[in-house]
Each structure stands twice: as C-alpha cells, then as structure tokens.
C-alpha cells in the first residue's frame, strides 16, 4: 500500500480484503488515498456464506459502510464458511455440496446482497478434503447459486487447478461447467506443492508466480468467459510491486490475444 501511495504506478484497480480496513483507522485512511487514483474492489474472506447459523449482521453493516464509503467496484466472497457457534475460524473451510447446503448458501447470499445493496461475486475455493455425503459437483453447485440468487461468480483459475489436482478432476471440464454469463471476475495466483502420506497435495497460499498450467487454463477460461476483469492475488512473501505488475501485464497480453482470436472467429 505504501508503495502504491509513494510511486503511484498506473494500476487498473486495487483489490483488498475488507476485514483489514474495518477498524484500523490509519489503514482505512490510506485506502481512501489510494481510492483517489484508482477504483477499489473488496474481496472478503470472513463473511462465512456457508454458515448454517446464518450471517453476522454486525459484520455486514461494517462491510456496507466501507463499501459505500470507498464506492467499492466489485464485492466478492468465497464459497466457504468460517463461523460456527459464534466462533470465527480464521480460514476458508470446505462445504459438503448437498441440497441442504445449497439452500443455506442461497439464503445467506440473498441476505448479503440485500444488506450490502450490491451484487455479490462468489468465488470457487481451493479444497483439501471432500465430504462423503457431497452429491453435487462444485461447478454445478456454483451455477445453481448464481441461478437462484442472481449473484455473479468469481472464477479463481488457480483454485480450480489446486482442487482438480488434489482430487484427480479435469480442470478444463470444471471451467466448461461454469455458467459463462455469470462470471464477473477472474483470479490468478500461485500455490505450493507438498506431500501427505506419499501423495502430492497442492496448497493455495498466494505466495508464488502463476504456474504454467494455470496460464493455460486461464486462456481456456477467457475463451469461454470473454473479457472480464482479472486480478493477480499475492498474500504471502510479497514481492516488489513490479513483479505483480509483470504478472498482470502477462494476463493482459493473453486477454488481448484471446479477444483478437474471438473477433477473428466472429468475422469468419
């Protein structure tokens, strides 16, 4: 943030986790300063859209106030949960994909969109476990949420890759199963590769460059979704801003190539 304020690089927009700006006054003041030059989007991690006990109204009010104050562009959250029995677990925990969960998530998304006065984008998570009683595939589950609530979807291509690798799924088929018209944003980031009990496990840590397989999936995703805003996420071991700008430039180049290719298709 300091680098953005001092060097004023040409950025298309900035996306932040709103939780870090709700009560930290100097951080909020800095965000207002950034907002003078570039649009700001909010990417929440603690709304807990999958909680069976419903959403935290106080938290929603704080989010609304921040979103209004900075005139937030996009507002997004994860298909995950973090709140149980009034306790907040500081992580994006996985959901069993069942009809019951779908009802709960849709009710919570409706409540969030109403309270925030905005359309929400819901992001596919990275997963390390699946539930025995899950009976709906994740992209179909996301499509159903979008169809029922009118929310948009945030397609995190790295998360698709991580989840697909961890469960032996086909990431291209996952992308193909998402409803293209609902995609409002794409995320790209890095992950790390580890092993558990002799099996490879990918962990989404937003701490590395986008890997080659994810760039390939990204091309595939853009061919399906058309031109949508793309964000590079990096949370851990933050590199100089220039590295992030290089990644963003690469995404932009690919997006440009896809648009030309699509126009050519139409012309033919």
């Amino acid at each position: 943030m300091a680098e953005i304020l001092s060097d004023r690089p040409a950025l298309a927009w900035v996306e932040v986790h709103p939780e870090n700006y709700l009560r930290n006054h100097p951080a909020r003041a800095a965000l207002h300063q950034v907002r003078r030059d570039v649009p700001v989007s909010l990417h929440g991690v603690a709304l807990s859209l999958g909680s069976s006990e419903g959403l935290d109204r106080g938290h929603l009010r704080e989010l609304r106030a921040l979103a209004d104050e900075i005139g937030a562009g996009l507002v997004s959250e994860h298909l995950a949960w973090s709140r149980v029995g009034g306790i907040y677990v500081n992580d994006l925990l996985p959901l069993p994909y069942t009809e019951e969960t779908l009802d709960i998530v849709c009710r919570n998304v409706d409540q969030a969109q109403e309270a925030l006065g905005r359309r929400l984008l819901v992001e596919n998570p990275s997963s390390y476990l699946r539930f025995e009683h899950s009976c709906i595939a994740e992209p179909e589950f996301l499509a159903a949420i979008a169809a029922r609530t009118g929310c948009g979807l945030l397609c995190d291509v790295n998360n698709i890759f991580v989840t697909a690798e961890n469960f032996g799924l086909d990431p291209m088929a996952y992308i193909d199963a998402l409803p293209a018209a609902s995609i409002g944003e794409v995320h790209l980031s890095g992950h790390f590769r580890t092993a558990r009990e002799g099996q490879t496990l990918l962990i989404d840590d937003h701490g590395d460059l986008v890997c080659p397989e994810v760039w390939t999936l990204f091309r595939h995703a853009l061919r399906r979704f058309g031109p949508v805003p793309v964000m590079i996420e990096w949370d851990k071991a933050l590199p100089p801003l220039a590295v992030l700008q290089d990644e963003a430039a690469r995404a932009e180049t690919i997006a440009g190539e896809i648009i030309r290719e699509t126009c050519f298709d139409i012309a033919c």
Partner: protein, 261 residues
C-alpha cells in the same frame, strides 16, 4: 441424514481443539487419510492465528522464544478463539491468559509486557481526531472547571506496571538498554503522534492526572489524585501542557460545549 450444522460443529472441534474424532467419518479419504486432510485446515488455522499473535506481541515472542510462544498461543486459541469476523480485537485477552498460564510463572513481568504491546497495537490503529485549543476553557469559573471532563486523543493510552516493562520493550527495539528487573515500577504514556509511536515515562503525579482524565474523571478528581501523589503538582502547567501536546479533542461541562471532530 447428516446436517450441515453437525458437520460445522465437528469441524470447529477439529481445527480449534485438535479433536478430529467427530469429523473423520464425514471425510472422503481419496488416498490421503481423513486426519491428513483435516490436518491441513487445522494447521492453516493455528499458523495464521499464531502469526497474528506474533505480529501483535513481538517482544513477548522474543522473550520466550518461538517454540514456547506457539505452545502458549495454541492454549490461548483453544480457550479464547476469535468471536468476530474482524480480527482487530483478537489478542486483547492474551495478556490475562499469560498471567494465568502456569508455564509462564517464572516470568512474572511477561503479562505486563504483553499489556504494553497490546496497548501500543491499539494506539497504532486508533482513530484520528482534531485537537481543541486552550481558548475553549477561557473564562471558566473554578467550580465549572472542577467538574469539567476532557476527552483525550484516541491514540493515547496509559500503563502502570510494577515491572520496568518500558525498559524491557526498549531493549527489544534495537536500542542498547540495560534492564534491571529489580529496578521496579514504571508509569508510561503511549502515543501515536504524527504517525510515530512513542513510549514516555511520566512522573507519578503527572501519570495520575493524565490517566484519570483519559479514563473520564473530572478535572477536580484528576487534580486531587495528582496531589495525593505529589504535594507540589503544578495543575496550571499540567493543564496547559495537555493542550500544547494536542491531547485534548473534546470536553464536556464548560458552558460553550465544543467537541473536536
């Protein structure tokens, strides 16, 4: 039929208390055991909350070492997990936890070092407020003045300890400071001013006066407390200094009630 509420309750026990028993039967193994998979989430939760506590209590961590700090943090997270989505107030109870944590008994000053760090964290993130000038108090009669309450800059806090925690803290800021634990108590004012954090030692009377006012006492009561510490406490000088230091942001009790914004 398994309900989502059951799964979430079992997941809560697994990640916060390390008890995987209720969750395991819901999890598909897929080549890695249920415990191995749940462990990824448990590890994410514990490491992210522990590093949040390290960021807020860096001197405590250096005093006890990272291994012991993680052990204490795990106990704290288990007994007092976050109860809000916004984690800004998470850690407020950590000093009290350390005070009651038997393995820390050999370091009796540790809870107060933690209190100092928690207050510094609060001061660093406090709201901004415009100061009042002393002209606000012009023409006050003595009786009104005695009943006046002054509102203090939110980026100011006070700590009194029977240990030299200010010196202990300074010794971990890259300054060469000799700490004599037997040297005894300290009374300090913590402040963010012009973007910088400062810790300043105050004399007992001044500390009594300022901390009482900051806690909402009337001017009369604050002066009485200061005089009980030191008979030669100079009230006019102390009051004037509050204004020159831009400490006062509001007041109630004077006829022309005026508030800083």
């Amino acid at each position: 039929m398994t309900s989502l509420a059951e799964v979430q309750s079992a997941f809560g026990c697994a990640v916060l208390a390390g008890d995987f028993s209720a969750l395991t039967r819901y999890v598909r193994t897929d080549g890695i055991s249920a415990a191995g998979r749940i462990g990824v989430y448990r590890n994410n939760v514990m490491t992210s909350l522990t590093s949040l506590l390290v960021e807020r209590f860096p001197v405590v961590e250096r005093l006890v070492g990272d291994g012991f700090f993680s052990f204490a943090a795990e106990g704290f997270i288990r007994t007092a997990p976050p109860d809000q989505a916004c984690l800004d107030s998470y850690g407020a109870e950590f000093p009290g936890f350390l005070a009651a944590f038997p393995p820390c008994a050999a370091l009796p000053y540790l809870p107060d070092v933690a209190r100092l760090e928690w207050k510094l964290f609060g001061v660093a993130r406090a709201a901004f407020a415009a100061p009042l000038t002393i002209a606000t108090l012009a023409g006050l009669d003595p009786e009104t003045a005695a009943n006046l309450r002054l509102r203090c800059d939110p980026a100011v806090d006070y700590l009194a300890s029977k240990w030299p925690v200010d010196r202990i803290w300074q010794a971990h800021q890259g300054e060469l400071v000799e700490v004599n634990i037997a040297a005894g108590s300290c009374r300090v004012e913590l402040r963010r001013y012009d973007g910088k954090l400062t810790i300043r030692t105050l004399k007992p009377a001044e500390f009594a006066f300022r901390s009482a006012l900051a806690a909402g006492s009337t001017l009369g009561d604050a002066v009485a407390l200061a005089l009980s510490e030191s008979g030669d406490f100079d009230f006019f000088q102390a009051l004037a200094t509050l204004f020159t230091e831009q400490w006062v942001i509001g007041q109630s009790g004077a006829a022309t009630s005026q508030e800083g914004s």
